[in-house]
Symmetry: D2
Subunit: 110 residues, 4 copies
């Protein structure tokens, strides 16, 4: 599928390789780049109230989507460089979180 | 597939809903939580050289994978709350980046 | 004075030197450490409303003050390593900001 | 003195008040702004080696000094809003750190 992480990761790897960027992509550098992109996302929300942050207009949403993409891209590149399977890590973390924060009885199942 | 973003997002949404956490999940809050998780990832790399960051041992990698999962989880929850399709945003950004940074002629195709 | 930046910087430099930490204090590493400390500060505010963030109790304030200190310490260590005079940089920035954002006529002078 | 934190804080407070910005300066917002400024600092170092980060040229240093100023400004504004005495917090933290990380015998005193 077009939105599976394996395929996105493979396409990003080709992109990086075609430009010879692997030499810049030490995990230490990638995690800094990831952090910078998250801050660019943060910047859009810093002066908003919680309510305003839930009611972005279309133009703001388009900019925010672009920043979300940058965060996702660096996260996948970092994980790929380190040999981490992101989907498996998320699944494992959800199992841990389900134990740590049990759903209350009678809660909606989703 | 188990690693497609649509499925992961749906499962995370159920998890949040079952615990009644939507009321805490204003985008402004989620982007802060995302930023905190990225910093926990950063913390593992702050005193390493670039070379050391490329040679983590298995124990460190397991911890880092857990932090990568936290970043991915908050990113998907944020995007879901905002109605952003992460895979589509990544695809759109890759197209933009391919124009901005053309691959040199004769470069490996991936 | 006990609160001037020159004296604080000198005392921090002695502290670092007495422990032989200069070898870990490449600016790249210090700026990552600074970023991690800011995120620890951020963590205290991530689920609060703006109003709640203005009404911390004494116990929270003590913890936050401790994190503020960590941020200040790494910022001074970074500036010292780079040979930057923080107070002079702040004064210069305030002059720039006064031009960029002129105070409205009739505004309170402070 | 021109570089004591009490004076810098007072001058920043006047600056903010003259522009009517207090209403935007909830601690939650200021800590986000602080985080964004730290990321702008981080951005200058993300693709450098540790060695390169110790050998910035004059033009880069001027830009970095400007970002350091922004971080210092938001940190003082945050502390002022919360009623935290930054110099006292740093002094208290240095005492704690001296206990936590005792200097080795025979180490240079600074």
């Amino acid at each position: 599928m077009a939105d599976d992480l394996t395929q996105l990761t493979a396409d990003l790897r080709s992109f990086v390789r075609a430009r010879g960027w692997e030499r810049h992509h030490a995990p230490k550098n990638l995690v800094m780049a990831l952090s910078v992109e998250v801050a660019e996302l943060l910047e859009h929300f810093q002066w908003l109230t919680n309510e305003e942050s839930d009611a972005l207009d279309a133009a703001s949403l388009a900019v925010v989507a672009d920043e979300v993409a940058d965060v996702q891209i660096y996260l996948l590149e970092l994980a790929d460089r380190l040999g981490i399977d992101v989907a498996a890590a998320v699944r494992a973390k959800m199992v841990k979180n389900a134990v740590k924060y049990p759903a209350p009885a009678g809660a909606p199942r989703g």
